[in-house]
Amino acid sequence: MSENHTEHVVDYKFNILVWMDLLIFTLITIEVAQFDLQDLTVVVALLVASVKTFLVGSYFMHLKFENRFLQAIVIGVAVIFVLVLILLFSDYLFFK
């Protein structure tokens, strides 16, 4: 009955710390949105959301403790999505 997939146990306390970080980032994103930073507002909001996603993915979804292959395909999907967005907006901004 040995451990099959080399599981890493994330401690209760550590999970709670990650959750507190997530709440703090939520607060930050709400506070920042009160200021009118023009085009930067959306950039800051998406950056904070991406940091939160990184925390959820790394610790809650255990990606930090998975093997390289799984990490690589998840990162690959994220990169492809960002590339699609960049290509889309390079097009729009070019023809603006």
């Binding site: 146990v9 401690d11 209760y12 939520t26 949105a33 507002t41 699609v84």
Partner: protein
């Protein structure tokens, strides 16, 4: 991947790693589903910046923020449940999943009241007020109902899945040595959380 095919418990062909990989591949199709909608959102927002600003101002920031906290907390309880089962504490794992399902219900109740208020204002696609909106605002509210609606369906499905998993924990099918179903249910739930992490600022906060 060589570490993953070692037998596990009674069934020599039980492949936890394969199940997990399959779950991730499924999550990628979810990214495709929501990703397409986020691209539509980005395009319409780019073309109708001011209308999206006005539409966003009509949404209730407090309700959106409360739901964000509810979902983040439900993600925590799933993560804690996995820690509990890894440590062999099935009872605690079960209770934490029950808390998660209650949080999912709280999210949906909040969502119901929020949608209801918009519905009363005639902002649901096809209603009177909706038809009078400018192109940009109608795009905003169409996307708002479509994307948060699709997300709510995922919350319902995730809640049902976690209910089944809670039953398996109670029965002992999901236990300290074999908890991949709980992990996969957790992965789905965290994805639902991640989608909300982006939906919240894009609909409720963007100025």
């Amino acid at each position: 991947m060589s570490t993953s095919t070692i037998s596990h418990g009674h069934n020599e062909h039980f492949d936890s790693y394969g199940k997990k990989l399959g779950m991730w591949l499924f999550l990628f199709t979810e990214v495709l589903l929501f990703g397409g909608l986020f691209i539509v959102y980005a395009t319409y927002r780019f073309l109708n910046h001011d209308a999206f600003h006005e539409g966003s101002a009509e949404l209730n920031l407090v309700v959106g923020a409360i739901n964000t906290v509810v979902l983040l907390t439900s993600s925590l309880t799933v993560a804690l449940s996995i820690t509990a089962i890894q440590k062999g504490n099935s009872k605690r794992a079960f209770n934490l999943i029950v808390v998660t399902i209650l949080l999912a219900l709280a999210f949906l109740v909040n969502k119901y009241f929020e949608w209801h208020a918009k519905y009363d204002h005639g902002l649901f696609p096809g209603m009177d007020h909706f038809k009078e909106l400018s192109t940009g605002e109608s795009q905003f509210f169409f996307l708002y109902f479509f994307m948060t609606g699709l997300h709510a369906i995922h919350v319902i499905v995730g809640g049902i899945l976690l209910g089944v998993i809670a039953y398996y924990i109670k029965k002992g099918t999901v236990n300290k040595d074999r908890y991949i179903y709980l992990e996969n249910g957790g992965l789905y739930w965290h994805l639902v959380d991640v989608i909300w992490i982006y939906l919240f600022p894009l609909f409720y906060l963007i100025i």
